[in-house]
Amino acid sequence: MLDREVPVTKKIKKVALVGSPNSGKTTLYNWLTNSNFKTVNYPGATVEFAYGNVNPALGSDLIFIDTPGVYSFQPKSRDEEVAMDAIYNNSVFGEVDGLIIVVDGTQLERHLLLAQQALETGFPFLLVLTMRDILQKANIELHKEILEKEFGARVVFFDGMLGQGLQDVILESANLKKTLSIEKASKWNDQKSEQLSARRQVLATRSLPNCEKKTFRHQTDQVDSLLLHPVFGLIFFFALMTVLFSSIYWAAAPFMDWIDQGFSWTAQTVLEKFPDQLWAEFFANGILTSFSAVLVFVPQIFILFFGVGLLESSGYLARAATLIDRPLAKIGLSGRSFVPLLSGFACAIPALMATRNLSSKRDRLITQLVIPLMACSARLPVYALLIGFLFPESPLFAGLALATLYLGALVIGAVASAILNRMIAKDQSGYFMMELPLYRLPKMSVILTQCFQRTKAYVKRAGPAIFIFAVVIWFATNFPKSEIHEQQLQQSYAGRAGQVIEPLFKPMGVDWRVGVGLISAFAAREVFVSSLAVVFQAANDDEATQQEALISQMHQARNSDGELIFTISSVIGLSIFFMIALQCMTTVAMMQRESNSWKLAIVQLIVFNGVAYALAVAVVQGLRSFGVA
């Protein structure tokens, strides 16, 4: 993963940050290179290497490489392999010139293992001790000279919160010089492991002489006694998930109104100022309508990212993974699947990558296959529109309906994974061991920056598709011009083509116009909403906002037989279709990359869409046969 375009020449020194999971590598990397990579209080957050030039303001000509956390130089999961590849055989510049072994100062006894292994590799290295602020807060002095003597390497303190020690890290990195030939770290036998472990204990005790046992974990332990409690812990977990997913709806409402009103006002003003002008009509009814239909949901997406960000930085994710490991194991997943699945609620792409820290290939595969079923943020506008249609007056019910759809995604994911669990041969390589990190108070500035970035990326990603479909659908529905206004849509290019595709969508209880929306959703799911807005001509001629206008058009829309299109059954059918359909081609490409199989990615594409269609049809027809409109 490229941080930014960095000219890589042979002369520039490349230094890789290596360390145990959650030791603060990415935090240090961000300071060094002025980057904004996601730092998460969860062991195993980084799953891809990144590289970047040292922040120019800090001088020095160095390239730093962030790597996924490793417990040793003998990789046991995909992310650990990525880390080892990054230092020995990096796809951009081969072998690195030196290492920074990042050691959490509060975890010396365990984290020094990597320094012991680094000695065997021949890489010149420097030890960076992070979490200095925590040591200082506990009034604990760390005698770094003991470690310097032991490892024959420089030791630098670094405070990830304030960035103190950054200059020293850069200075010492610049001084790293390769003098030995580089080798792979050897596998230790039991005896050697024991010896070195005893040595680490001695080192930790000597360098932290005034550190009593359990100095750092006191508060964390108290919180854990509640949050990992067999009864209360579970109640908290489910309550938290419900609050997160339902708050998306109600907390965003006022902001959505502002955006909607802003767009409506602009569209109205343009139409009033330039009556009967074709370009004004195109701008208001095509472009503005399309963008407002999707952008109005941006606050919801922001709140989703914010909620996930809070969870990520608090340290709770590792607890949630632990709480849910057992039920997940029953259906072929692992507690380690929880974080990829949760990030699947934001976007499937990083979620698929996050599966790299699952140790078992089988668990990884099953997790990858069910991730696209999680209700990603691109589905949010679609759900919000459909829910807005069903519960126009009640934000509480709408919020609960949304939480139900999210829960539904989990249920469908669980069913799919249980089926896969029976189909895929078992393997023995899976295990679940999860360190529970210290709880930390989330740093608002970091979370908000990350939220803004992710929201911006979301808009940027969907933007071009929304624009292109706005243009295409507006022209296709407005031309050729019909003499009779009422027949415009039927006579248009889109209307004529629509007759051809209509039989496919009729069983789902919808007409060709919704069909156009469903097809356009393969460009980006959100485009379904913007396409509907254009195709149903949801420009507001009266006082209503764009959003209200679209929903009111949906209430009135009838098919060629004069039947209402949007009814309870067809809206439920559409929801089910969107819950299962795999419409995101980037996900398909990523699935291919992560599973290393085109066949799998294509089978998944066909099966998910086939099942989505069949289930939607079955539910609509089933409901109608029971008399539900």
Binding site: R110, D221, D325, G335
Partner: protein, 88 residues
């Protein structure tokens, strides 16, 4: 005298329970089971002679929570069985 737990299938779900004293502490006596798991456990800082404290267990007989060297590790029964423990 220290009592070593003999791990056998019928003893599943009982890891460490016999060894626990009031403080719920026990000591690692040796390692067993698949080699890659033994290796990983050692890499995570567990070693023979190390005193660990059993803090509890996640619901539905989920992972054990064990505390050692300033950290808490959640670990499934199956993997915990690789740690042969004895009472202090």
């Amino acid at each position: 005298m220290a009592r070593v737990i003999v791990i056998c299938m019928s003893n599943l779900n009982q890891w460490a329970e016999h060894t626990l004293n009031k403080t719920k502490e026990c000591v690692i006596d040796s390692f067993a089971g698949p080699l890659h798991l033994q290796e990983r456990l050692r890499e995570m800082g567990l070693s023979t002679g190390l005193v660990i404290k059993i803090k509890g267990r996640a619901p539905w007989k989920g992972p054990w929570l064990i505390e050692y060297s300033e950290t808490v590790l959640a670990i499934r029964e199956q993997e915990a069985q690789c740690l042969i423990v004895k009472s202090l």
